[in-house]
Amino acid sequence: MQVFSTPKTIKENSSFTFCPGCDHGVALKLVAMVLDELNLQEQTIAVASSGCSVLLYDFLDVDCIESPHGRACAVATGIKRAHKAQGNNKFVFTYQGDGDFASIGISESLHSALRGENITAICINNTNYGMTGGQMGPTSTLGQITSTSPLGRNKEYHGFPIKTAEHIALCDGASFSARVALYDVKNIINAKNTIKKAFEYQKEGLGFSFVEILSSCPTNWKLSPQDSHKKIEEELSKTYKLGIFKDIKNE
């Protein structure tokens, strides 16, 4: 029998403040487990952003800075480069929502990938602006009803959603770009291995590594946690295909 304990990189006595059934907690725990496994905790600087992901520093026991909305990759660029200029190699990753990474911050995100900044970005894609109550975001799918697309996202009226991991994969500076999901154990294990790979690529100095995580938002989707996972399995992972879109080692 295997007994699971809280990862060392999760703060003692902290409890997640995410909504019940939200996948953020699972994603953060995976990040913490990988930081433990790679022995990175004490050399890490994490960059939190605006939205549900902002409270990162309440849960993760690593040095952490909050970035203005969307600017996490620029802030991470500054941290990584400043340490390098001082002769230090620190581990730097961002933890952002899809609105943060792919809407307001797409310029900073894409250009960090294009420059091949040696950082890792984790993007939680729950297809809406969760913190503000479920508005249409860059990843809201066609037909998706949100508080600002009450009749469903319409391609003529609202335009199309973005496939973030595929866009990052097109950047020459990206070493790794993948999309994972968390709707069952198999996928959770795959997600963890994928995050690990992305982190390892940074450790090896290969350039920008990226993991998009399809995550549930039961509160704003107005679904039970179980039905939210079913939606990811049956609908979202068809629109947003799971897999690796760029792997510099397999080119």
């Binding site: 703060k11 905790q41 004490e42 050399q43 890490t44 600087i45 960059v47 939190a48 902002v54 409270l55 520093y57 993760l60 026991d61 690593v62 040095d63 952490c64 800075i65 909050e66 970035s67 203005p68 600017r71 620029a74 802030v75 991470a76 660029t77 500054g78 941290i79 990584k80 480069r81 400043a82 340490h83 390098k84 200029a85 001082q86 230090n88 620190k90 581990f91 310029s107 900073e108 250009h111 420059r115």
Partner: protein
């Protein structure tokens, strides 16, 4: 290092930044400050320092924000309409208490305006365009030598108070070459080991953030910042007085325009009229107290600016109703010349004093 050399303002700023250990520069091109980034690009790459041609000014200032959290000496430079893009991050940097040096080589506005020199960003710099109760230290050089001195001071004050500092130059100063001495940085380094983010090896993890869901804690944080600003106002006010002691008329003027104002003083002194110049070198903290003292024994103040009266507000707040305040200004372009100023002052004086 001790010899005078012919230096352009922009290059002087870049050299002084390198001299005092600036290890990170992030920037985006905009006239009339582009030479700062151009000069530093080679110098910093050759020294293995951090230099990024940022995707935008928003990118640049946020890179500066991240880099500052490591304790590095960090600079970005820009101009007017592009500094507008940086206001969000400046508000964050104040709340996060991060030392960033921002050089604004002013051009004409509003909007895109043009590359003509101007002093139109006094309000943007001293009042700010970001949200919340914050203050940014603003230093105003008036010649190339002061570009060097105040660049050193900007890095020092940024580290000392853990606060952004704006070096507010203008297109004339940035583009003008004159002899200046590139002396060594006179300021000590400030110990930052208690707050920087460099990994939690051997200590508790730290976080730097402005978000604070507790009303009590957020109020306390803002009060603490306010106390720091009060200390800055107490300790760091800097100004130049030229022939103010016995003056009946005092010109107030800042930046490179103050040089013309000084020439005007000399002109009137030769004619036996007691005129002086008061030039704030710190626009924030503004020298309210000293200007108020001077206003009790001076009849007339003439504020001269290359804008339509931005510092004028602070001048009036200093002088209150103690003396008369007049204003001469022009928003952009060729600096007001000595002759133009004398003509304008003669007209003001005729209204005030029949004897001139």
């Amino acid at each position: 290092m001790s010899e005078k050399q012919l230096l352009k303002g922009n290059i002087a700023i870049a050299k002084a930044a390198l001299n005092c250990g600036c290890s990170c520069y992030f920037g985006y091109p905009i006239t009339p400050q582009t030479e700062i980034g151009e000069f530093l690009s080679l110098e910093m790459q050759e020294r293995n320092l951090a230099y990024v041609c940022a995707e935008s000014e928003i990118g640049a200032i946020n890179m500066a924000l991240g880099a500052a959290s490591t304790g590095a000496k960090v600079m970005t430079s820009s101009s007017s309409c592009a500094v507008s893009l940086m206001q969000e991050a400046l508000s964050y940097a104040c709340s996060d208490e991060l030392p960033i040096v921002l050089v604004n080589v002013m051009r004409a506005g509003p909007g895109q305006g043009y590359i003509f020199p101007s002093q139109g960003d006094y309000n943007q710099s001293t009042i700010g365009g970001g949200n919340g109760d914050y203050k940014i230290i603003v230093l105003s050089p008036s010649n190339v030598q002061e570009c060097i001195e105040l660049t050193y001071k900007a890095f020092y004050l940024a580290q000392k108070y853990r606060n952004p500092v704006i070096l507010l130059a203008d297109g004339l100063l940035g583009q003008m070459a004159e002899p200046a001495k590139l002396f060594d940085n006179p300021y000590p380094n400030i110990d930052n080991t208690s707050w920087i983010l460099n990994g939690s090896n051997g200590r508790k993890s730290r976080s730097i953030h402005s978000l604070e869901p507790s009303q009590l804690k957020l109020n306390q944080h803002i009060f603490n910042l306010h106390k720091k600003y009060q200390a800055i106002e107490q300790n760091e006010v800097d100004y130049e007085e030229y022939l103010c002691d016995d003056a009946d008329i005092i010109i107030t003027s800042f930046g490179s325009l103050a040089r013309h104002s000084k020439a005007v003083c000399n002109h009137y002194r030769e004619k036996g009229i007691k005129m002086g110049l008061f030039r704030p070198k710190t626009l924030y903290p503004f020298p309210y107290k000293r200007l108020n003292e001077l206003s009790k024994k001076t009849k007339l103040f003439i504020d001269i600016e290359m804008n339509l009266g931005q510092m004028l507000r602070d001048v009036r707040l200093s002088i209150l109703s103690n003396a008369q305040v007049s204003f001469i200004g022009k928003p952009v372009g060729d600096w007001l010349k000595k002759e133009e100023l004398i003509n304008a002052i003669d007209n003001i004086a005729k209204e005030q004093y029949a004897s001139i």
